[in-house]
């Protein structure tokens, strides 16, 4: 199946047992796969039905209700973008100092604590955080932005700390050797070296956050996800099609622009 054949992979490996590691892995994965198929009741009969069912739903997608798209979907997508933007800004502001504190080379002791906290924060999908924020600040996009912000802090802190750890530490020593304090060394030696890469990470996270904010509507935290859920629930497929098409276009556009800016920043 999809496991590697060790003989092709690594010709230097000595020929060992008859059943190689790759064959065994393949067998285990195949067995797990079959068990999983049975357990979720994905029977062969069902497998035959699926393509037809999908095709049927797809056939209802036409004609796309673009009027609904412009009037109802676009505002919801814009709200998703706004949620992602505010979430990213919150995360960027919080993660910058945390990334510096999380760098082993600068603050060996604090870094451990910061890394542990950021790992925990990363483990939460933003939608679970939104479940907690909705009762606190009420249904709506504000809860979504907070959830996105908090859950992004973890990843941005981790990536940022890695950037800081990768820099030339000698310049920090050089600043301190002139009688500058640790804070001045951060300002003049660390920040100028790491900022471009860190900003590129912010932009990348913004791209991810657009997708994340699109689904938050499912738990009532604003954005386009709620619209899709409703149109599908009431089987307004031509409206759902408008949601999908507009989402794809907008996300592609933002990916393109953001990707271009990221490349410019890293090069400059």
């Amino acid at each position: 199946m999809n496991a590697p054949n060790p003989h092709v992979l690594d010709p230097t490996k000595k020929p060992g047992s008859i059943v190689g590691f790759g064959t065994m892995t393949t067998f285990i994965i195949a067995a797990l796969f079959v068990i999983a198929l049975i357990m979720i009741e994905f029977s062969p009969l069902k497998m035959i039905q699926v393509p037809g069912q999908v095709a049927e739903v797809l056939s209802f997608f036409w004609p796309v209700d673009m009027a609904y798209g412009w009037d109802n979907v676009l505002p919801a997508i814009i709200e998703s973008i706004q949620i992602a933007w505010i979430g990213t800004i919150i995360a960027a502001i919080l993660s910058l100092p945390l990334a510096l504190l999380g760098a082993r080379t600068l603050f060996p002791r604090i870094a451990r604590i910061v890394k542990f906290i950021s790992a925990t924060a990363r483990a939460f999908p933003e939608i679970l955080l939104a479940i907690y924020f909705v009762p606190i600040v009420g249904l709506g996009p504000f809860a979504g932005a907070l959830a996105i912000g908090i859950s992004s802090v973890g990843m941005l802190t981790k990536l940022g700390a890695e950037v800081v750890e990768s820099i030339d530490f000698g310049t920090v020593e050089a600043v301190e050797a002139t009688g500058g304090s640790r804070i001045m060394a951060l300002r003049y030696a660390v920040v100028p070296q790491v900022l471009p890469e860190i900003i590129a990470h912010w932009l990348f996270r913004f791209e991810l956050n657009i997708r994340a904010s699109a689904v938050l509507g499912v738990v009532g935290a604003g954005g386009v996800g709620g619209v899709l859920l409703n149109t599908l629930r009431y089987r307004h497929f031509e409206k759902a099609a408008a949601v999908l098409i507009l989402t794809i276009i907008v996300v592609l556009l933002i990916d393109m622009i953001s990707g271009e800016i990221r490349r410019k920043i890293i090069k400059g």
Partner: protein
């Protein structure tokens, strides 16, 4: 600037003030507009801290008596992730090969496949889950299908980049020795990037475990369905338990996957 009054110091090149003004203006405008749009208010946040602390009180301690009822749905989550990863993993192979510039048979195929791949990537996992739940009915099958698509999006993007960086010497040799395109891919291109493939597949599995937790929110099976009912009934002690259990499980699975990945690569 010429405080020292010397002649050799060149004048400071003017900063590109226009660019700075535009960038700064854009950032500010975007933030104000977005903040206004989503109803950002520090006031509201502070006022509702009371409600928030009540919520936290209600969510603590987690209701551990609920734990046994989580086992079945959690296993379902794992099954969904396995099916999604395997199906998506297999389907991603042709998608990735055709999207690799050096391996694709012609420009048109490459162009079409690459855009297909990018479009798959734009839609979040829960969108696929909603679509499949509508098409094949609520339940784990919808979740598995959604994760299959999601997996194709993840693996094919990453792996096509690995394939583009392989050494083309051997594949070209296979071709010039009279091998077919398929033989070239199968015997010389794929083996070179196999380790990357395994690593990405495991990564996709981790993402799928995480994603399959929330699929239930839109009726696509797994532990998320229980989470959704308990949340709707404001049983926050149970919600907390579910989330904690899920976090622990995710961390364990990620650890296992990480270990395998390190052994294989």
């Amino acid at each position: 600037m010429n405080a020292a009054g010397n002649t050799t110091l060149p004048t400071k090149p003017p900063r590109n003030w226009w660019l700075w003004a535009i960038v700064l203006g854009f950032l500010t405008a975007m933030t104000v507009w977005s903040g206004y749009g989503i109803g950002f208010s520090a006031n509201e946040l502070v006022c509702n801290i009371a409600g928030g602390s009540r919520l936290l009180e209600e969510s603590w301690p987690p209701d551990f008596s609920f734990l046994p009822r989580l086992i079945d749905p959690f296993m379902e989550t794992v099954y969904i992730a396995i099916v999604g990863t395997v199906v998506g993993g297999i389907l991603s192979i042709p998608v990735a090969v055709l999207a690799a510039r050096n391996l694709s048979p012609d420009k048109v195929t490459w162009f079409l496949d690459r855009n297909f791949m990018n479009i798959l990537r734009t839609l979040p996992d829960l969108f696929w889950a909603m679509l499949f739940a509508t098409a094949v009915g609520f339940g784990p099958v919808a979740g598995a299908l959604a994760l299959s698509v999601f997996t194709v999006a993840v693996i094919s993007k990453l792996w096509s980049e690995s394939l583009e960086s392989i050494d083309m010497g051997l594949p070209e040799a296979v071709r010039s020795a009279g091998g077919s395109w398929l033989q070239m891919i199968q015997f010389s291109a794929i083996p070179q990037a196999m380790q990357h493939y395994v690593s990405y597949a495991l990564y996709a599995f981790e993402l799928n475990i995480r994603a399959s937790l929330v699929l239930g929110l839109v009726g696509a099976g797994g532990i998320g369905m229980i989470l959704e009912t308990q949340r709707a009934n404001f049983e926050y002690e149970r919600v907390t338990l579910i989330i904690l259990a899920v976090l622990v499980a995710v961390l364990i699975i990620e650890q296992i996957s990480e270990t395998i990945r390190r052994r294989l690569t």
